[in-house]
Amino acid sequence: MPQVEPMEGNQAVAEAMRQINPDVVAAYPITPSTEVVQTFAQFVADGEVDTNFVAVESEHSAMSACTSAAAAGGRVMNATSSAGLALMWEILYITASLRMPVILTVVNRALSGNINIHCDHSDTMGARDAGWIQIYAENVQESYDNLIQAVAIGEQADVRLPVMSCLDGFLVSHSYELLQVEDDDAVKDFVGPYVPRYPLLDVENPLTMGPLDLYDFYFEHKRDQWAAYEPAKQAVIEVGQRFGETFGRSYGLFEKYQLDDAEVAIVALGSMAGTAKDAVESLRAEGVKAGLLKLRLFRPFPAEELAEALAGLKAVAVCDRAASFGAQAGPLYAEITSALYTAGVSVPTVNYIYGLGGRQIAPDEIISIYRDLEQVAAEGQPDQPLQFIGVRAFSKEEHADMYAF
């Protein structure tokens, strides 16, 4: 019987991993994803899974071993955050290029310096061009549901791509929620058995993987890889529907919350969407036509679908929980505005950078964004397309005070 249990995000992820029972997990601890690895190690120690757990000496080795284990022919999972993902960076591209459906939970955390263990999305945004599918969760239930779907999406025959299943550090990873835990057998049925393609362990059909690939073929290989992302997007839709039919919770590329008749809307990823829903409700009570688009799939980026969903709005705020230094805006904003422009949709847009290093975003602040949007809608364009919200501006004197100890 499915059960409802109070669980933290990290425990929910580990629980999904236990049910999926991957062949190999090669992982390395880092806050705030450590608990996933620890909890899973205990499952191994207690014989609750058949997994060969490899407690590697670094994230670089973790992703190297995950990639080669997948190449050998089997299901592979892993979890990390921030600096750990950064240390994997070189290998992330190779995992995707070799078309190995490794499933990686990323508990989002700020990148150093200065060192900070709390949530922002700079880590996964930094890896956005590596070729991995990226799915973001709002809460504990979605973290659990997304990980199960990630296996089915990444392993689909016409996709064969690695997937990052992302949840917000501490805000989701360390928050207790009531989790609907599905039956072990139902989860196993949903993901199905692993179907190897060109396994390295097939010694009768020896394969050379990861060769030297120069200007005469490399480009074609990259073009071929490009072709996998449209099927990947379709797979996210189909698997999300099948998940709904099986477990009663359906998923798509994004969630529209009070969006269809909205005039002003926020686009956000991750846990902020939960707070934004409350803000939408209180504004709706006042008669403000506020809406929310919670993006779930960031890679491959569903540009056309997003442009269609945002067309007709009078003003849109795109919220980025990531620093993209030197760029004209945050990464999500850049993608959204590019999608709108390409589709010929003209909507005034504002970019809000928020929440870096775990800074909380309060409902009042979100409401103030909607108020700004009403102004933008009235004027037809923002006077400042890039805004920071929730950050203090210190005067010279205050700065001097801070260091006067």
């Binding site: 062949d23 190999v24 090669a26 058949d50 997994t51 060969n52 490899v54 407690a55 590697v56 000496e57 670094s58 670089h60 080795s61 973790a62 190297s64 071993a65 995950c66 990639t67 080669s68 284990a69 997948a70 190449a71 050998a72 022919g73 089997g74 592979v76 070189e90 290998i91 190779i94 070799l98 190897p196 396994p199 390295l200 362990l201 097939d202 010694v203 009768e204 059909n205 020896p206 394969l207 050379t208 993987m209 990861g210 060769p211 030297l212 690939d213 120069l214 073929f217």
Partner: protein
Amino acid sequence: MARLQELAERRTALTGGHRLCPGCGEPIVVRQVLMSTDDPVIAASCTGCLEVSTTIFPYTAWAIPWIHIAFENAAATIAGIEAMYKALKTKAAKGEPLPDYIDPDANYKFVAFAGDGGTYDIGIQSLSGAVERGHQFLYVCLNNEAYMNTGIQRSSATPMGSHTTTSPAGSVLPGKTMHRKDLTAIIAAHDIPYAAQSIPGRWRDLTTKAAKALEIDGPTFINVLTPCPLGWRCEPAITPEISQLAVDTCMWPLYEVEYGEWKLNYTPKEKKPLDEYLEPQGRFRHLFRDEKGADVRKRMQEFVDYKWEQLRARCGEE
């Protein structure tokens, strides 16, 4: 132990047609290692001469399964494959079907081939981690004492006095000014079942060691001094002989450490002066020009003597 004839008749895991230089020691070592067993072998390499010269897409010289992921991770790469093999075997033991392409009766072997750069320097963490965890694999270091693939830069395996492009001999500096590190001893200090040194010039030594290592269910390591005619600036034809000279001068002693027992496999009848090994190699030529060079050669000889006595003591040969 297999006779030469038998070895020669075994499978060719690495075929001809690769683009390694004439006289390169690397394919000789790879072939000798892989002909030491009849079991199925899966190989991994890190970035380096062997990888770029044997797998230029759409061609490959490998007749066995082979993978390359990156430069600093040959050990983690082979560990991942071994981990998956063990996982599938363990599941099969619990009653799940073994994939039909895996022979249930065969003993699969896992071999990593990595350069000295990929082993002594950037890959030492990955190697140390993998041997500590006890994966079943043989790690062969193709030690040509520099980063050859990128154009002969120094590594921590490069001997003192050697001219490389990042330790060039100049009017002030005599090539590399530090001694190389003793990686075989470092790996042996992990208390692994088997660590050894060998050369391509003594096929019996290398194939015996490889065969022994491949029978062990645990991490094993063979550090093979692998001449590179291009980087060492010596005649392609003398690859076996120059490696033999390294052994006869005690610059590269042949020994093995089996379950903590240190054993010398070869003691030269007469220990030759180091100069005999240095002279044929252009990378040391500048040391034969003046007093300063002579002084460096003296220090190199002292280091060889010191390491040789240290090794003899470890092997109980006093």
